[in-house]
C-alpha cells in the first residue's frame, strides 16, 4: 500500500527545521510544525509552511517558477532529497513526525 493511499485526507503534523537566516526572518525557533492534509510531499509541506509563515514566501522556492532556490537543499532521514520531485512522497518517518524535514542553506563560499 502506498503512502498516498494511506494519507489521503488525513492531517499530518510535520516537523520542519529551518536555516538560521529564515528562522530570524520569520521570528521562529529552529524547528516548526506544520499541518499537512493529504499527501506529504515537498510541495505540500512548503505550501503549508508558507501559509503559516508568509514571510518565508519566495525564500525557499523561487516565486516565479516555484522551484527550489539554487542554494537551498532538502534533507530528511539522512538522505539528500534536493533532487527529488516536489511531488514525491516524503519518507514515512517525516509523515509520522519521527524525523524532521530539513531545509538547509547549501555551503557556498570559503
Amino acid at each position: 500500500m502506498t503512502q498516498q493511499e494511506v494519507t489521503h485526507g488525513v492531517q499530518h503534523d510535520v516537523r520542519v527545521l529551518l536555516p538560521t537566516q529564515l528562522r530570524t526572518l520569520a521570528g521562529v525557533p529552529r524547528e516548526v510544525s506544520v499541518s499537512v492534509v493529504g499527501d506529504v510531499t515537498q510541495r505540500s509541506v512548503l505550501d503549508a509552511l508558507e501559509a503559516s509563515l508568509p514571510s518565508l514566501g519566495g525564500t525557499i522556492r523561487d516565486r516565479a517558477t516555484a522551484r527550489r532556490r539554487p542554494f537551498i537543499r532538502y534533507f530528511a532521514c539522512g538522505e539528500d532529497l534536493s533532487q527529488e520531485s516536489p511531488d514525491a512522497l516524503l519518507p514515512d518517518a517525516v509523515v509520522s513526525g519521527r524525523e524532521p524535514f530539513i531545509v538547509l542553506g547549501a555551503i557556498a563560499g570559503g
Binding site: 508568509p54 519566495g58 525564500t59 516565486r63 557556498a108
Partner: protein
C-alpha cells in the same frame, strides 16, 4: 529641521545613523537584517517614519521590509515581483538571448506625496510599483517592453533599474537609468517610455550613435531645476539641460571620469559631486587617495575635496547609491565605501569626518531630513 538620519545598506545588514542639525555627533544603530545584503533603504518624503528596505541573499532571495516608525521596528511585506505577461529574453553578456529573471530589488523610490506608493527598480531590469505600502507589486511593463528591451544587456554587476527620479514639476514624468541600457523617460506616468541617450558615447560599443547599451551608473536631478540632469556614466560625466533629450560631456578636468555616484548640492543646482575611480578594471581612487570632486559650475571645472579623507593607501570604492545630501545650509554630503566607512561633511564638502569606520561594505546611503 532638527535632525538628520542616514539609512545605510551594507553587504551584511542595515544601519541607521542619526545626528542633530549640527551634524557633529552621530548615533549608530543596527545592524538590522543581520547577515543579509541590504541593497537600499529609503524613506518616504511624505512621511519620514515610513521606510522601505530591500533585503536579499543568494540563498533566500528577495525580502521587502517596511518600517512605520523611522527604522525602530520592521515588518516583512510583499516580495512577489512577477513580470507582466511572458517577459521573453534580453541579451546575455555574450550577446545570446537570456530569459528575463527577477533577481533582487536594487532601489526603492517612495512617491513624493503618498507614503503608501513606492517604486522598485529591480534586476533583471524592470520597474514595479506598489500602491498599498509594499504589500503587492505591479510591473510598469511599458519600460521593459520598450522596443529596445530585447537588446539590453547586463553590466558587470547585473542588469538593473538602479535610478528612479520622479519629476517634482510634472507628476507624469519620471526618469529611470539601467545598466547597461541607458536612460529612459516617461511622460505619461509610466505607461510608455522613451530612450534618452542622445550624446552618450561608449567605447565598448561599435556604433558611436547607439541609443541603448550605455552603462549609465547614476543620474541626479535638482528639484529646483528639473530639466537639468547630471550623469555619472561608466566612463564620462554628462549633463542634460533638456530633460534627457540630449547630453553633453562635463568631465572637464577630472583626473578620471570613471565612477559610480553623483549628487547635487541641495542649496545650489550648479554644485555637483562625484567620486572619481581609477578605471573600469581598477575600482579604487587614483593613487589610493580618496577624493570627492566638486564642481560649482555645473560641471567642466572640478576641485578635489580631501580634508579629512584618507590620502594614502585607500583602495575602496563608492557605489552608485552610496552618496546623498541633506537639505541643511550649508549642505551636508555623505557617502559610504566598500571598506565600510561612512564619511560626512556638514559644509558643502570642504571638510569630512568618518561617521563610522568599520561597517560591512556599504551599498547605499540615503539621507532623511527630520523635523
Amino acid at each position: 529641521m532638527s535632525a538628520v538620519r542616514l539609512l545605510v545598506g551594507t553587504r551584511k545588514g542595515a544601519f541607521v545613523l542619526t545626528s542633530d542639525a549640527s551634524r557633529r555627533s552621530w548615533s549608530v544603530e543596527g545592524p538590522h537584517f543581520v547577515g543579509w545584503e541590504v541593497y537600499h533603504l529609503k524613506g518616504s518624503p511624505a512621511d519620514p517614519d515610513r521606510i522601505y528596505a530591500s533585503q536579499s541573499s543568494s540563498w533566500s532571495g528577495q525580502v521587502v521590509q517596511r518600517s512605520n516608525d523611522g527604522g525602530k521596528s520592521w515588518e516583512t511585506v510583499g516580495n512577489d515581483f512577477t513580470y507582466q505577461g511572458h517577459p521573453g529574453t534580453h541579451q546575455w553578456y555574450d550577446g545570446s538571448p537570456h530569459p528575463w529573471e527577477f533577481a533582487r530589488v536594487w532601489h526603492f523610490e517612495p512617491s513624493l506625496d503618498d507614503p503608501d506608493t513606492v517604486y522598485a527598480g529591480v534586476e533583471d531590469a524592470a520597474l514595479f510599483r506598489s500602491t498599498d505600502a509594499g504589500k503587492s507589486w505591479q510591473e510598469l511593463a511599458g519600460l521593459r517592453e520598450n522596443e529596445t528591451g530585447t537588446s539590453w544587456q547586463p553590466g558587470a554587476g547585473g542588469m538593473a533599474v538602479h535610478t528612479i527620479i520622479q519629476d517634482p514639476s510634472d507628476q507624469q514624468r519620471m526618469f529611470v537609468a539601467i545598466s547597461a541600457a541607458g536612460v529612459f523617460r516617461t511622460d505619461d506616468g509610466g505607461e510608455t517610455w522613451n530612450r534618452k541617450n542622445k550624446g552618450l558615447h561608449s567605447e565598448f560599443m561599435p556604433d558611436p550613435d547607439a541609443e541603448v547599451g550605455h552603462c549609465v551608473h547614476r543620474i541626479a536631478q535638482h528639484p529646483a531645476r528639473p530639466s537639468t540632469l547630471f550623469m555619472q556614466k561608466h566612463w564620462d560625466v554628462m549633463r542634460s539641460d533638456d530633460a534627457g533629450d540630449s547630453w553633453t560631456e562635463v568631465s572637464g578636468d577630472l583626473p578620471t571620469d570613471f565612477g559610480f555616484p553623483i549628487a547635487i548640492n541641495a542649496n545650489d543646482p550648479n554644485t555637483v559631486y562625484v567620486v572619481p575611480i581609477t578605471s573600469d578594471s581598477v575600482h579604487y581612487p587614483p593613487q589610493g587617495r580618496l577624493r570627492v570632486y566638486r564642481s560649482r559650475s555645473g560641471g567642466g571645472e572640478w576641485e578635489p575635496l580631501t580634508e579629512g579623507l584618507p590620502q594614502t593607501h585607500c583602495y575602496t570604492n563608492v557605489l552608485r547609491d552610496a552618496m546623498d545630501v541633506d537639505h541643511l545650509d550649508p549642505c551636508g554630503v555623505y557617502f559610504g565605501t566598500t571598506g565600510g566607512q561612512v564619511y560626512g561633511s556638514s559644509d558643502d564638502g570642504d571638510h569630512w569626518t568618518a561617521i563610522v569606520e568599520h561597517l560591512p561594505a556599504v551599498l547605499s546611503v540615503e539621507v532623511q531630513d527630520l523635523a
